[in-house]
Structures are given as C-alpha cells and as structure tokens.
C-alpha cells in the first residue's frame, strides 16, 4: 500500500487534485475559526446584497448574511453529505456486486437486470421519485437517499472484477483446499476490487456534490437555514440578477472541489492503467 501511495504521488494530476481537495476540506473543517462571520447571522437590511468588499470578500445575501462564511460552512455540509453518501453507496454496491458475482446463477441475473433497469431511470428522475414520495428530508435522510440511489454503477464494476478473479487459478486452488466462502471473498476477491472501487468512489464524490447541488437548487435537498453550496445557488432569478455574487462564488467553490476529485480519480486510474496517460 505504501508503494501504491508513493506511485500516486508521482502522478501530477493526482497531486493537484489532492491539493485542491485538501485545501477545501481543510477550510471547511476549520470553518468555525476561518469564517469571518456566523453563517446564519443576519446583519440587517442595511447589509442586504452588499457587493464584494474588504469586509465581505464574497458580498452578502438577501438577509445580509456573509456569503464567504456561508460558502465555508456550505462546503462543509456538501462534503459531509458527499463522504457519507459515497461511503453508503460504495458499501451497498460492493456487497451487491460481490454477492451477484460470487453466487452467479439466478441471484446474478435478477440483481443485474434490476441494476440495468435502475440505470435506465435518469438519476434526477429517480431522486425526485424518492424525494417526492418521502415528505421533507433532513441531512441524514438526504444522505441515505443519495447513497441508496447511487450504487448501481459500483455493483457492476465489482461484479465484473469478481467474475474475472473467479476464473483465476489461485481461486480454484483456494476452493479445492476447502477455504470457506467468507475467507475467499475477504482475502482474494476484495483486494482485487479495491483499486477500481477507489477510483469509482473518488469520481463519485464529485458526482454526488453536483447532484446534491442540483437537488438543493430544485428545493428538494438541504433545507434552510442550513447552508449547502447547492442551496445557496437556488435563490432564484431575482437574487441572481440583483446580487450575482451570491450565486457565482458558491458555484466556483463547487467547481474547484469537483475538479479536485476528478483529478484525483483520473490520476489514480492512470497509475492503475498507464496506457491512458
């Protein structure tokens, strides 16, 4: 694992990605100390929609709240949601993929046909379906819904890897020696799926951040007064035109974070498969 890490550090894209992600994760984690204002403090009508200035580098919003402070706290909310949902979706996807690939037969056919169907429903439609049925969700609910609707791709990747591993000699050897199913999965299959799953997880982080932003923009994600980056961009046409900075800055932060994860994912994939370089 140490050697993998040192190889990763020689990859330029992975390093840049890590730097971007680390920067924003750090700022978000330290938001309490870094943010100049309380993100929910309404500084009064006189401070409404102030353009960027020395006091408010990113300006203020409709309620006179400091946009920079809200962006920092918002990045925290978005990142926490993304980490938890990706963890959930990777866990489900890996389990399902392992089960389908390892059991084969009817289990495999049924799960994979279901995954095919689920992948045919555009993600936003699927999320609207779920969010529309469950009335109003909190952050935990949102994490669960995002996680539960995002594992299909991962299960396919894992299943394919399991199928490939299953055919290799050492698996036959292990089975003929009477090694239990659990041990085979744990010691032979899991290490092999680790790399592609890590790539999927890294790229998934960026995707979830974008999706969460989209849902919050539609008014179905994180609810006020919690600041998530998506929520901050959803103020509507009036605010967009009157105070563009309230939308522009959260958007730029989302882009930079997502670029960071994309670079990390690309870099990781490059080191796994040098041909794509």
């Amino acid at each position: 694992m140490n050697s993998t890490l040192s190889v990763l550090f020689t990859n330029r894209r992975w390093r840049y990605g890590l730097a971007l992600v680390a920067l924003f994760a750090g700022l978000a984690a330290l938001a309490h100390w870094v943010a100049p204002y309380d993100p929910t403090a309404q500084l009064g009508l006189s401070e409404q929609w102030r353009p960027p200035s020395a006091a408010h580098p990113f300006g203020t919003d409709l309620y006179g709240r400091d946009v920079l402070s809200r962006v920092l706290y918002g990045a925290r909310v978005s990142l926490v949601i993304a980490v938890l949902s990706v963890f959930l979706s990777i866990s489900i996807g890996t389990s399902v993929g392992l089960a389908a690939g390892y059991c084969g037969g009817v289990v495999d056919t049924l799960t994979m046909r279901t995954v095919d169907a689920a992948l045919a429903i555009p993600r936003v439609f699927l999320l609207l379906l779920v969010l529309g049925l469950w009335y109003g969700v909190d952050v935990i609910g949102l994490v669960i819904i995002l996680g539960v609707t995002s594992w299909f791709g991962v299960s396919r990747i894992v299943r394919a890897e399991v199928m490939a591993v299953r055919e290799r000699e050492y698996m036959l050897a292990a089975r003929s020696l009477g090694v239990g199913h659990g041990r085979i999965l744990l010691h032979h299959v899991l290490p092999n799926v680790l790399a592609p799953v890590t790539v999927a997880a890294t790229l998934g982080m960026g995707q979830i951040i974008l999706i969460e932003a989209g849902l919050s923009f539609l008014g179905l994600g994180v609810q006020e007064p919690t600041a998530s980056l998506g929520r901050m961009m959803s103020a509507g046409g009036g605010e967009l035109l009157a105070a563009p900075w309230t939308t522009v800055f959260p958007g730029i932060v989302v882009i930079l974070i997502v670029i960071g994860f994309s670079l990390m994912g690309d870099g990781f994939r490059d080191t796994l498969d040098p041909r794509t370089r």
Binding site: A117, A118, R123, G132, T276
Partner: protein, 327 residues
C-alpha cells in the same frame, strides 16, 4: 437486423417492466398515501378520504393493486394527475415535445463540439492547445449545469444580462408570438432554444471531448494509422478518414450511455430557463406530491433512455463492419 431489433424490443419491455415494478415498490414503501400528506386534502373529512382511497383502489391487497397497476400501464394508463386534473399521459404528452427539442439540440452541440475538440486534442497530445483544452473540458465537466445556465443568463439574457442578446425564459415569446410571420415564429423559437441547448450541450460536450480524446489517443498509435502515413496520404486524411473513423466507435457507445445524464441535466436546465418540458413538470409535480405524474415521468424517461440505447446500438452496427457483417 430484424432479429436484433426484436431482441432489443424484448429487452426494452423487460427494462420498462422492472422500472414500473421498482416505482410501485417505492410508492408503497413511502410513508402514508396522497391523502394523508397532500395539503389539498388536509382539511377533508376522514370519510371523504376513505371514499377517495376506495375510488383509487388503495384499500385493496397489495398484489391486486400491483397487477392492476401493471394492467393499466400496458394500456398506457398511468393514472390521473391530482394537480392538473387530467390523465398523467396527457400531462406528460403535452410536455414531451419541448424536452425532445431541447435534448436533440443539446445532443447536437454535445457531440459535434465534443468530437471535434476531443479528436483535435487526441491528434495533438502534449501540445499547448491540448493542455489548455484539457483544463477547459475538465472545468466544464465539473460545473453544475444549472449554475452554468445562470451564468449564461447573467451574460446573454435580453434586458437583464450583460450583453442582453438572447431570450432566457420559455420556449417562445408569449405576447406577440401570434402576430409573427411563420418564419418569424420559427426564428423566435430558435432564439429561445439557444441558451438552454448551449447550457445542456456544453456540459455534455466536456465529457464527450474527454472520452473522444482518449479514444483518438488509443487509435492513433495503431498499426493501420502508420500504414496510412506510409501510403503518402495527407495528414488530414490520415487523421479524419483513418483515425477518427475508428475512434468514433467507442463514442457511439457513449452516445447511448449519455441519455440518462442528458435527461437529468434537462430537468435542471428546464427549471433555470423556464422551459415548458417534462423536467419542469416532474419538478413541479414532486413539489406538489403529485405521485402519479412523477412515477409516470420516471417510466417515460426510462423508455426514452432505452430508445436512445437502441439507436446507439443500431448506429454502431451501421458504422462498424465487423459487427454489421457478423449476423
């Protein structure tokens, strides 16, 4: 080809069946029913609600409901829209053309631009231009599509944007539209289409370009490209006729896979630009808890995805002689 299409049709029906079952399960898993959560009915008496439930068959056993639901689906009956007071299929049907126009225009931008940029990059990897375009496509690939739309509004929208050159709301001018000449009406619609289609198309083009670049890079080091050079062909012929033709094959697969993403993006773009399509309908319905419309829209979207995949498969067969002549 006929057997292939028949196979695809069966596959498509299977997928729609599973999608319908999934939506039914989700619907039943949800807490309460329309009458306990929908605000319109909060003041209604329990008696009235029970009557309404009986009318909709919500009091019957689950499997009866399920089979009824499937039977209705086969007949194209997706139930009634609570908020629009008409059959769901009608509500959706009224919105689909606008979404198809938007999606088609966006696909055009997506693939024309994506293929051109990606192929150019793949043929000149390591150059300054390639590096600059890589940064640009990576950035565009990471932009929330609705935010991109809002930036376009700020820049281009008439009256309010910096440049003020293009309409940014709706599919046509509302007030004077009837008084325009047929040509004027068409021009009006095209002008309204530009910003939403560019937004959705550019977001997709970034992904397509990244994919096309990788595909081109893979093809350009193949032996037959060297053969083409050894024959004394122009570099342009080598790149476009020999390399790109082969590098387009994986992009056709991407084309098939891009439909779910395209439709997801269309939902957000339609909201930003007030585009009267399926996306806005589904968002409004989700906010109004109009379940039948949301489930119906999900099924219709899945069908559109399956159709898109089939088109891609057919295209692949046309372009790649190895697949075409196999069967």
């Amino acid at each position: 080809m006929a057997r292939f299409l028949a196979g695809r049709l069966i596959q498509a029906i299977a997928i729609v069946f599973v999608v319908a079952s999934l939506t039914f399960i989700l619907f039943r898993l949800a807490p309460g029913d329309p009458f306990s959560t929908m605000s319109d009915f909060s003041s209604a008496s329990e008696e009235f609600k029970d009557q309404a439930r009986r009318n909709l068959g919500l009091d019957q056993p689950l499997h009866t409901q399920y089979f009824k639901y499937l039977a209705n689906l086969v007949r194209g009956d997706l139930g009634m829209s609570f908020s629009e007071h008409r059959p769901v299929l009608e509500s959706i049907g009224a919105r689909i053309p606008a979404t198809i126009v938007l999606a088609a225009a966006a696909l055009l931008v997506d693939f024309l631009l994506g293929i051109f940029v990606g192929a150019h990059q793949g043929a000149h990897t390591g150059s300054k231009g390639d590096d600059a375009l890589s940064v640009l496509t990576l950035t565009l690939y990471s932009v929330p599509v609705f935010w991109l739309g809002m930036m376009f509004v700020l820049l281009f929208a008439s009256n309010v944007g910096l440049l003020g050159i293009l309409p940014a709301t709706g599919a046509k001018t509302t007030a004077m539209y009837e008084h325009l000449t047929p040509f004027g009406q068409m021009w009006d619609r095209i002008k309204h289409l530009i910003l939403p289609a560019m937004t959705l198309g550019l977001a997709g083009a970034a992904g397509t370009a990244r994919y096309q670049r990788a595909a081109m890079l893979e093809v350009i080091r193949q032996d037959f490209v060297r053969t083409a050079r050894a024959k004394g062909l122009r570099e342009r012929t080598v790149l476009f006729r020999h390399a790109l033709r082969n590098a387009l094959l994986p992009v056709i697969t991407l084309f098939g896979l891009s439909f779910p993403i395209l439709l997801s993006g269309a939902v957000l773009v339609e909201v930003v630009f007030n585009w009267p399509g399926l996306g806005r309908l589904v968002v409004d319905s989700a906010l109004a808890r109009d379940y039948n419309v949301v489930t119906g829209a999900a099924i219709v979207a899945a069908i559109m995805v399956v159709i898109g995949n089939t088109i891609a498969d057919i295209l692949y067969r046309i372009v790649d002689p190895r697949v075409r002549l196999e069967s």
